[in-house]
């Protein structure tokens, strides 16, 4: 079932003409005639959950915006896409930016928003240009601007280019960044829905979440909720990479067996090698052993049950010849680099985890390092303003706990027995 990626294969799918020829913008028209409250109810009923990583129900999030405040309300569309392994939102902006814009119209109208910012990571220059052209087309057609589709509803869309900072994918870091500051997250509460951008109520939703709205409005919440599982409704774009035959973005209804999905859609492990482990939801998600991956299903509940998470749907496949100590050294270096520096447990913890994992990888570690790693992780969990600290500690704990023998082997051998590269 293709909802988000329905147009990806069409020629010139990024143009307004092609989008409209496929029925595009009918959902926005329908929403504008429904009344905002009815749109919110429909989205709540659909069970749509945030696709950026946290999986929070979108309609419920909208419901947190206080009613009748004498302030503007803002929408921030999160297109920062920095979670290692994730490359789905760029496909939406490249191949179907009008679906995103139509979703923005629907969300904005539902919540009473008149200005939406799309926060796109700075490297996505091509995707920014594509999306800006689509925004311009929508303005020219009267789908954006002071009188959206003749409804009297006003909506402006502004694209804000990031400049290279993973932390700006965190919603309050993103808000700080739009305000022209360093992307250092804010303490919560207050949550952005109450005090967000420019101190006003703000909704922050991921590109893919917003892009699901046209289908939900066109086909109805029940149709959407009938797809997937009761708690993971609809479909998700999975970014599959690593040691796999056919890496790529695959839209998949929730609830299928993890391993079957990898075999059927992505061609299984590269070169017929054995599966060692899988990262199910971006580098922040705890690792799954091959056995866990074989018995998991692709949905929020099953992965939570296995002690991991669906995250951003970024699946990274490790074959038998991948060195997990080296992989973890890469991961910890990344978080140490991206820690914004305001909370000591994160700033110091990510730095030391990288130092320790790196020394094990190069053969200079000791057995007591393994418990030291776990102790540092414990001190990083739940002790900081945002979850970057946890996002580093969670995978580190899981690699060391589930694959401890590989770390021990590096320590006793004084180095790595795996090939330097696997691809």
């Amino acid at each position: 079932m293709k909802i988000i990626s329905a147009n990806f294969e069409k020629k010139d799918s990024h143009t307004l003409a092609v989008y409209e020829a496929g029925g595009g913008y009918a959902a926005a028209r329908k929403a504008l005639s429904m009344g905002g409250g009815a749109v919110v109810e429909e989205v709540k009923k659909s069970g749509l959950r945030g696709r950026g990583g946290a999986g929070f129900p979108a309609g419920v999030k909208w419901g947190f915006v206080p009613k009748g405040v004498d302030q503007p309300v803002y929408l921030c569309v999160n297109a920062d896409e920095g979670e290692p392994g994730t490359f789905k939102d760029r496909h939406i902006m490249e191949k179907d930016p009008h679906r995103l814009i139509e979703g923005i119209i629907i969300a904005s109208y539902a919540v009473g928003i008149h200005t939406a910012f799309i926060y796109v990571r700075g490297e996505y220059v091509f995707q920014i240009a594509r999306t800006q052209r689509a925004v311009d087309e929508a303005y020219a057609k009267g789908y954006l601007g002071p009188d959206v589709m003749g409804s009297g509803f006003a909506l402006d869309v502004v694209i804000h280019r990031g400049a290279g900072a993973y932390i700006c994918g965190e919603e309050t870091g993103l808000i700080e960044s739009i305000e022209g500051k360093k992307g250092q997250p804010r303490p919560k509460p207050p949550f952005p829905a109450v005090v967000g951008l420019f101190r006003c109520p703000t909704v922050v939703n991921n590109v893919e979440t917003i892009s699901a709205l046209p289908f939900i409005i066109n086909e109805g919440a029940e149709k959407y909720a009938s797809l997937g599982t009761p708690k993971s409704t609809g479909t998700m774009l999975f970014s599959v990479s690593g040691m796999v035959e056919k890496p790529g973005v695959y839209e998949q209804e929730f609830g299928v067996n993890f391993w079957e999905f990898l075999e059927k859609r992505a061609g299984g492990v590269k070169g017929g090698r054995a599966l060692k482990a899988v990262v199910p939801g971006g580098s922040s998600s705890p690792i799954l052993t091959a056995d866990e991956a074989r018995s998991a299903t692709l949905d929020y509940e099953s992965l939570a049950e296995k002690g991991s998470m669906l995250g951003s749907g970024a699946i990274i496949v490790y074959s038998e010849d991948v060195c997990l100590v080296r992989a973890l050294a890469v991961i910890t270096r990344f978080y140490a680099h991206e820690s914004c520096g305001q909370c000591p447990p994160c700033r110091e913890g990510t730095y030391w985890l990288h130092r320790i994992v790196k020394r094990i990888e190069t053969g200079a570690g000791t057995m007591s390092d393994l418990d030291l790693i776990l102790r540092v992780c414990g001190n990083m969990r739940g002790t900081t303003v945002c979850v970057l600290s946890d996002a580093c500690a969670m995978p580190v704990e899981s690699y060391v706990r589930k694959f401890r023998s590989e770390f021990e082997e590096h320590i006793t051998r004084g180095g790595c027995r795996f090939p330097a590269e696997t691809g």
Binding site: F87, I178, G180, S241, A327, A420
Partner: protein
Amino acid sequence: MEKHTAATIAFDEEREARFQRTLRAYPEKGAALLPALWLAQEQFGSLSDDVLAYVASRLECAPVKAFAVAEFYTMYKRERVGRFHLQLCRNLTCSLMGSEKLRAFIENAVGIQPGGRTPDGLFSLELVECLGSCGTAPVLRVNDTYFENITIERMKAILENCRKGTLPDPESL
């Protein structure tokens, strides 16, 4: 490019127009800092202290604010990069798919280390974090263009083209 001093720094006509449009897009002037820094970097090549002071003066904010923001975000460059700025991803999937080997190849072929720039100003090299191109790893970004599924052969072709003065079309390689 001529040397800019604090007294002579100003947006050119086109960028001034874009700067004015940017100001109108945000309800608060200070929010235009990131886009204004992009404009300045585009025009002046890097964000020197003088350029940062100029941007700050246009936004009526303290120069230290512009300085802090320019230092926080990795894509703002305080020093000039090469005419061809090679950005090699070193994150998880790219490292599985051979980015280390590519790094060694580039260092050898161009004669610089990460963070360096060739004396003729043609190349600079930076190791970057996940570029959102893991399905087509390993990936190299040159200036604003992504080159995906990079092999040593493709890397050679890219560097050869750059030496002749043109960034190749990724599709043509």
